[in-house]
């Protein structure tokens, strides 16, 4: 495949990915409102469209038409840049996430992801780690106590939980011996003893890793019960207190995009990616993996919302203590044990 076609194909894929992602984001918001509504015994959005399905659209319009005010005394360049940074990194991280196997359309044989990199997993981690800047800068640049505190908290929290997050993945990496997400998924095809799917979560101790990963992921994305950066009761709205209109929307989107990325990663690493039951005609066989994958992601998103609807918020010191004194040792232990087992087996 020569350079031009490569570029064209990549552009197409990027566009598709962004559209899909943004839609997903929008409807995750809708889903959240619905589910939380039902959890709290109300209806959630119902007015706009059937089941309020058009609600995200309305929200989007509202954000666009709202007055975009920048308070005085903010450090303007960063105040403007911060939300963009946040959103950009949130969107970029999706670029190496495969949603299915290679497909061949006409003469073009291409993977179902923007690009297939050997160290895909690391790239995702790296980009998500860059996401901190959006929050931090927003908090700092908007020159307000609440924002600053929110920003500080956010960056501290993200930096701390990144460690556990990364370490929780090491077990999986040891088992599959590759950073390539596709390889990791392929390694999970098949079953143990014929009936248990060969997912990493069932593989040895990895359910521990999964547990750690899940919690760390919640903290990374500043979701309940770790949403201290935007704890209404104490910090108004944390780092985006001063933001409004589209800038605020960007943070919002960034957060949900991150949720989705993390969910994808979780399903790829622990729940066997797109592996699943294939049946029916060829086209169905081609589509099914994507469907299975989407199903897993949906499950994770639902889990997010469910947790949000259920759990109260941590206190800040509890959060830190939990991260450093419980999750990190757990992840380390998992790493060591898995490494030992593999080393002894080989």
């Amino acid at each position: 495949m020569n350079l031009e076609t490569f570029i064209i194909v990549s552009v197409i894929k990027i566009v598709i990915a962004i559209i899909v992602l943004l839609t997903a984001v929008a409807y995750t918001v809708w889903l959240e409102r619905k589910v939380v509504g039902h959890i709290q015994n109300r209806w959630g959005p119902t007015r706009v469209g059937p089941f309020g399905l058009l609600q995200p659209l309305a929200d989007g319009l509202k954000f666009i038409f709202k007055e975009d005010l920048t308070p005085p005394h903010v450090y303007k360049p960063l105040f403007i840049a911060a939300p963009m940074i946040a959103l950009i990194f949130a969107l970029t991280s999706i670029s190496v996430i495969p949603i299915g196997n290679w497909v061949t359309i006409g003469s073009i044989h291409t993977p179902l992801e923007i690009t297939d990199v050997n160290v895909g997993l690391l790239i995702v981690l790296g980009i998500t780690s860059l996401g901190v800047y959006g929050v931090a800068l927003a908090g700092w640049s908007s020159n307000s106590k609440y924002s600053l505190l929110g920003g500080l908290r956010a960056s501290a929290q993200m930096v701390s939980y990144e460690v556990s997050l990364g370490l929780s993945l090491v077990g999986v990496l040891i088992l599959t011996g590759s950073f390539n997400l596709r390889d990791i998924v392929l390694a999970q095809s098949g079953t143990f003893w014929g009936f248990i799917p060969r997912w990493n979560i069932f593989h040895g101790l990895q359910f521990v890793a999964f547990f750690v990963y899940l919690i760390a992921a919640y903290a990374e994305t500043n979701r309940v019960p770790f949403d201290l950066p935007e704890a209404e009761t104490e910090l108004v709205a944390g780092y985006h207190t001063e933001y409004s209109a589209m800038k605020f929307a960007m943070f919002f989107m960034a957060e949900y995009a991150n949720m989705i990325t993390v969910a994808c990663l979780a399903s790829l690493l622990f729940l066997g990616g797109w592996n699943g039951w294939l049946f029916g005609p060829a086209w169905l066989k081609a589509i099914l993996p994507v469907f299975w994958f989407g199903l897993r992601v949906f499950f994770f998103l639902f889990l997010y919302i469910w947790v949000r609807g259920t759990l109260p918020r941590f206190r800040y010191d509890q959060l830190m203590a939990f991260g450093w004194k419980f999750l990190l040792p757990l992840a380390l232990a998992n790493t060591v044990v898995t490494g030992l087992v593999v080393a002894l087996r080989s």
Binding site: Y75, P77, V119, G126, S129, L130, Y133, L148, G151, A156
Partner: protein, 173 residues
């Protein structure tokens, strides 16, 4: 060709960031431009095929170290740096000297560094090979650096911990 284009694009970003680091008077801007430098350096590594190094560069430098910097800047709320008598001299002598020095260096390098050419992905550094090196050939340095890190952590904690008296006043206040 592509190689040259990509190289020069990101190289220019690098230099721009570096220069920006110098001219910006506000530390946070300098920090951000440094992050830019690092990111584009990661791309340069990618061009050289060292993808693992590139990603690690992003994760560690951009994702951890610089976060620390930004964090500290925010914590100390560092503002514009003010002029002081020493600075003028440094500007007058430092800039020309360094410019001349780098120019000479560049000339020498271009003229005398042989005819070594590097292609895209000249040396792919797959993680497993690097791990091989790290855990066999460079095992001792590796362990020593781990100890170094440990010491650094303790040192940082000791240094940054608030002195007792201050804490007491805090409690009372």
């Amino acid at each position: 060709m592509v190689h040259l284009i990509l190289f020069s694009v990101f190289g220019l970003i690098c230099i721009a960031g570096a220069v920006n680091l110098l001219v910006q008077s506000h530390p946070i801007n300098s920090a951000l431009s440094l992050i830019a430098v690092m990111a584009s350096l990661a791309v340069e590594y990618m061009l050289l095929g060292a993808e693992f190094v590139a990603v690690i560069q992003v994760i560690i430098y951009a994702g951890a170290i610089m976060v620390l910097f930004v964090f500290v800047i925010m914590l100390l709320n560092a503002g514009q740096e003010e002029r002081s008598k020493g600075s003028r001299v440094a500007l007058l002598f430092g800039i020309p000297a360094t410019v001349v020095g780098s120019a000479i260096g560049a000339w020498v390098l271009i003229e005398h560094s042989g005819t070594g050419n590097v292609a895209i992905g000249a040396l792919p550094g797959p993680p497993n090979q690097i791990a091989e090196l790290l855990f066999h050939d460079f095992l001792l340095p590796f362990e020593i650096t781990s100890i170094l890190i440990l010491i650094a952590i303790m040192g940082a904690v000791v240094l940054a911990a608030r002195p007792e008296s201050v804490q007491h006043t805090k409690k009372e206040g």
